[in-house]
């Protein structure tokens, strides 16, 4: 009885699906969906090689410091970095005095420890990067986690920063709906192709690196991408170091476990079945 009921139940679901499938196939055949502009024109993040890539990768402190400089001088005008504290910058190779100086350049609105009244004061190493008040239209996202919050990570940021370009007439003819609106900028790496952020890196030499590296647009984009990989995953180096040690140990322990298993089961191969083993 239960099998007869189940067969009917199974046929009911299958027929319902056949109906859905038929309707779907019919509309797909008679009214094919035009490929959307996003699908046709969107581009996947291009390759970006960073020192922190790979199993044995490590952050390049000089590059992170350059990237931090780009963030401070360019990105920080609109984008906050609220999850990062000034004390965290020690991981970039800054010493205590440098961190105090960097922090004190910021203005932090905090409760006065005596009066409890909120007022502006210079930042301290324990402060997080302050919120950024953006006067224009739109919502520049906080950048602390941006390389983990976008597919492609650092490569996405690099591609986006260097991906501004003019819309060709051919593109416009094929996809008129993708036309860039007012105060928007065409960038095929952005999810809906038209981004509100004006090109932030406008020309070579926009920042002056203290280590003498030439500040080309591509170099600045790479450096700030590397920096944002760090802000999203500051424990990356420690994680990989720990991971190598853990994997080494596990490999060793597993080989031992395998040999122990072989040893124990060898008794069975000799045919002493059911006997209490010598190990017991």
């Amino acid at each position: 009885m239960i099998r007869i009921l189940s067969i009917f139940g199974g046929l009911f679901f299958a027929l319902a699906l056949l109906y859905s499938f038929g309707r779907g196939a019919y509309s797909a055949a008679t009214d094919p969906v035009k490929e959307s502009a996003e699908r046709a024109l969107h581009r996947e993040p291009g390759p970006l090689k960073l020192a922190s890539d790979g199993v044995f990768g490590h952050f390049d402190h000089a590059q992170l410091q350059r990237g931090f400089q780009v963030y401070q001088e360019v990105c920080a005008n609109c984008h906050s970095l609220k999850l990062v504290a000034y004390r965290d910058l020690a991981a970039l190779g800054y010493d205590e005095d440098e961190i105090k100086k960097i922090a004190s350049n910021a203005t932090v609105n905090a409760a006065d420890p005596i009066t409890g009244e909120f007022k502006d004061r210079p930042g301290l190493p324990t402060d997080h990067f302050p919120p950024v008040v953006y006067a224009g239209a739109g919502h520049p996202p906080d950048l602390s986690l941006i390389t983990k919050a976008r597919e492609g990570g650092g490569a996405y940021v690099h591609s986006l920063l260097t991906g501004y370009r003019a819309q060709t007439p051919a593109v416009l003819a094929a996809h008129p709906e993708a036309k860039t609106g007012e105060n928007l900028f065409y960038n095929p790496w952005f999810s809906n192709l038209n981004i509100a952020m004006p090109p932030p890196l406008t020309g070579d030499g926009q920042v002056t690196y203290s280590d003498g590296t030439t500040a080309s647009v591509d170099q600045m984009a790479q450096d700030v991408s590397a920096f944002l990989v760090w802000t999203a995953e500051p424990k990356l180096d420690k994680r990989r170091q720990t991971g190598l040690a853990v994997l080494g140990f596990l490999l060793f322990a597993t080989i031992l476990a395998y040999m122990a298993k072989r040893n124990v089961w060898a008794q069975l191969k000799r045919g002493d079945v059911g006997e209490a083993s010598a190990i017991d």
């Binding site: 067969i7 699906l17 720990t242 991971g243 190598l244 122990a260 059911g274 017991d280």
Partner: protein, 435 residues
Amino acid sequence: MSFPWAQDYTPRAPLMQWLDEKLPLPRLLHGAIGAGYPVPRNLSYMWNFGVLAGFCLVLQIVTGVILAMHYAANQAIAFNSVEHIMRDVNWGWLMRYAHANGASAFFVVIYMHIFRGLFYGSYKAPREMVWLLGVVIFLLLMATGFLGYVLPWGQMSFWGAQVITGLFGAIPVVGEPIQHWLLGGYAPDNAALNRFFSLHFLLPFVIAGVVILHIWALHINGSNNPTGIEVKRESDTIPFHPYYTAKDGFGLGVFLIVYAAFVFFMPNALGHADNYIPANPLQTPALIVPEWYFWPFYAILRSFTQDILFIPAKLMGVMAMFSSILLWFILPWLDKSPVRSGHYRPLYRKFFWVLVLDVLVLGYCGGSHAEEPYLMISQIATAYYFLHFLVILPIVASLERPDPLPYSITEAVLGHDEHAVLGAGRAVPAPVRVN
């Protein structure tokens, strides 16, 4: 417990004798996972996944309890408290990645465990209760996994909660009140987050309770084995310890290597980037998908695109999604073939591998956008899923001529069994009749 030839527990040390009289806990362990538990001698590595699932449960509880010490279940600060764990709590990043990837590892292990049971007919009599309790554990596990994914309060957490509780909204008449009651509001908010956290903390201990019942029920009849033939005598078995403790130890090592590779070197590979964006009720993500381990069921949910008679498409999808798991509860009575193991069922075996492929296809479609061709593919795959369990399985047992079974586990392993000769030794039960 178990077979008459099970080794007795005889404590030698005075302390152990004293303990055995007051609280025979070592005796319990001896009979459950020690030398006092005879197990079929031919269990393959596919039988490691039960122990591994138990390990995952402990792992999740330990890492989860530590995370709960630092997490704040308040919608205003939940997201930042997770980042506090990642950045400022000592080894917090390890706890969180171990927990998040531990959930994925748990589901990998559980799916292997379930499909092992399907292939070898472990759900059949006399082990129906083991299977039924296993389905209960799986349902609890799904609930726990879903609740846990909401806690970081990222975009996918929020919209996942919205979609999944919305499923209850598809129930006629009482659906919406139920949805609002579950959420404690009209949309996921602080009330929902708080209760989800509370339940996420509770359910693993409920799972632990059902796991005890699951193992208890298992030990009544003992493990199934790759031949699917019941244990006949002592030569068919070996003591759990040291043989299977050693085998499980090696299996655990291999599991941990793969798991550690994910935790330390690709901890976000199985997650979704959008969940690193704080929850925003005003901005719907381009693609709302659950965690990968729900994708097959998500594909089933979305594959019903047309109303059937008076049943709306959404309700059909919800019914189908729940049915796809609930039908496992009647599985032991759908498959009436007396042969358990797929090794000896040539026709069933083929359908089994089609089902494996089918579920993988469903998973792929469930993780993709709800558009063609994925909808049409998942409609076919969902149809096969239901036909497999509800139509093919009941029928195939009648059509199929199983391959000859070995006389006993001993014969299957050693190639001969002295008791398999008629008249040899003492009287033995007749071999399993096939066909």
